[in-house]
Symmetry: C2
Subunit: 221 residues, 2 copies
């Protein structure tokens, strides 16, 4: 099956991180197309929605096997299911939020994670005034119990929303506890071992990359 | 001068957007090195901090001219100043925030934009209860006056923090008003003409790209 073929494959294939990072946008776009009743889409149509060149889309997908027949376009439902499999979006992932300040509370009350398979199962903070509070249905636990909380709730992913000064320390603790995926909201790039993934949510970096185009009068492709 | 050479150049050169998007991280890392008194850094050292391969760093920088002498490393201060010039970070950019809900308020009260040259000059919302309120030192103005506000405050960049259902509409309005750089917080990819840049802040997409590595037991390079 194409499916099995893919899954045996991409553990070995070296897929560039930039390609992996684009796949969730493919999933979102395909989901939208499906909800609009679109069953077949070619790379041209996907490219317009994703604002990626059709050539890039064909190249990205080629890492994972053959999804479309030349000139026939992609079966939206099939491609969507394959990509959800490839991205590990067919299972539920337990997520812990470390740092329950203004940002942490906004994250804990954001309803968008759960429907997409990310279960917020624990909230931790160092502030004794915050520990014990109920936030978004979770009782805030002390960071001192990080290891225990992560084991007990089988946490795979941590969202870190602590001040810059504490970020690297918390990230180090998380890595020690075996967490391999960290979403960091502090405006720094935490250092982690090679086997750990960090994604940084940083509006400033996004703004600073757009000013390049404003300053140079060019546009991104 | 290398500087002028670069600036004449990269208006013409086609720099991949993925490269442009990395440059702000270079700026941040170089700033940190400089604050630590580091004056010369080679691509190896930069690569470790940025978690990018030294080869990629040399390739990225090569788009903008010669910054380092083979085996001599980069002059941190010189490279930093060049990159700040290239990214348009030596001037101040006026920013409007559209949408003053929970997220918009968090953005308006975030102190990190101003020191880096992004001046929040206007806040707009459609909700009559919110219009007229003082948020982060700005009086919230009605979206109906968007065009006037953008002209009056010479807004170059808009941050959009409105619900999904309103996002594309607001983005269309901003584009009509001549805004060429938009930072969107809604979990959709707004469609814009080619001459406009959009960056999307979307924690869900980041999480969904990390699960690829969790599901496949590989790590991003």
């Amino acid at each position: 099956m194409a499916s099995n073929f893919d899954h045996e494959n991409h553990g070995r294939t070296e897929v560039p991180d930039v390609v992996v990072s684009r796949l969730p946008q493919y999933v979102r776009t395909l989901t939208q197309l499906l909800s609009e009743g679109v069953q077949i889409a070619n790379s041209q149509q996907l490219g317009e929605k994703l604002q990626i060149t059709p050539a890039q889309i064909r190249k990205d997908l080629s890492y994972f096997g053959r999804f479309g027949k030349q000139g026939r376009g992609y079966n939206v439902n099939h491609l969507l299911e394959e990509l959800r499999q490839i991205l590990g979006l067919t299972v539920t992932w337990n997520v812990a939020v470390v740092g329950v300040g203004r940002l942490g509370r906004a994250i804990l009350s954001y309803p968008g994670f759960t429907p997409d398979g990310f279960q917020l199962v624990a909230a931790l903070d160092d502030n004794p005034d915050v520990v014990g509070q109920d936030v978004g249905g979770l009782t805030v636990q002390p960071v001192a119990q990080l290891n225990d909380v992560i084991q007990r709730h089988e946490v795979s992913i941590a969202i870190v929303a602590v001040p810059i000064a504490y970020t690297q320390g918390v990230v180090d603790r998380l890595v020690e506890c075996g967490v391999k995926a960290i979403l960091n909201y502090a405006p720094i790039m935490p250092q982690v071992p090679e086997h750990v993934n960090v994604r940084n949510i940083d509006p400033l970096l996004s703004l600073q990359s757009m000013t390049y185009y404003l300053a140079n009068g060019t546009v991104s492709e």
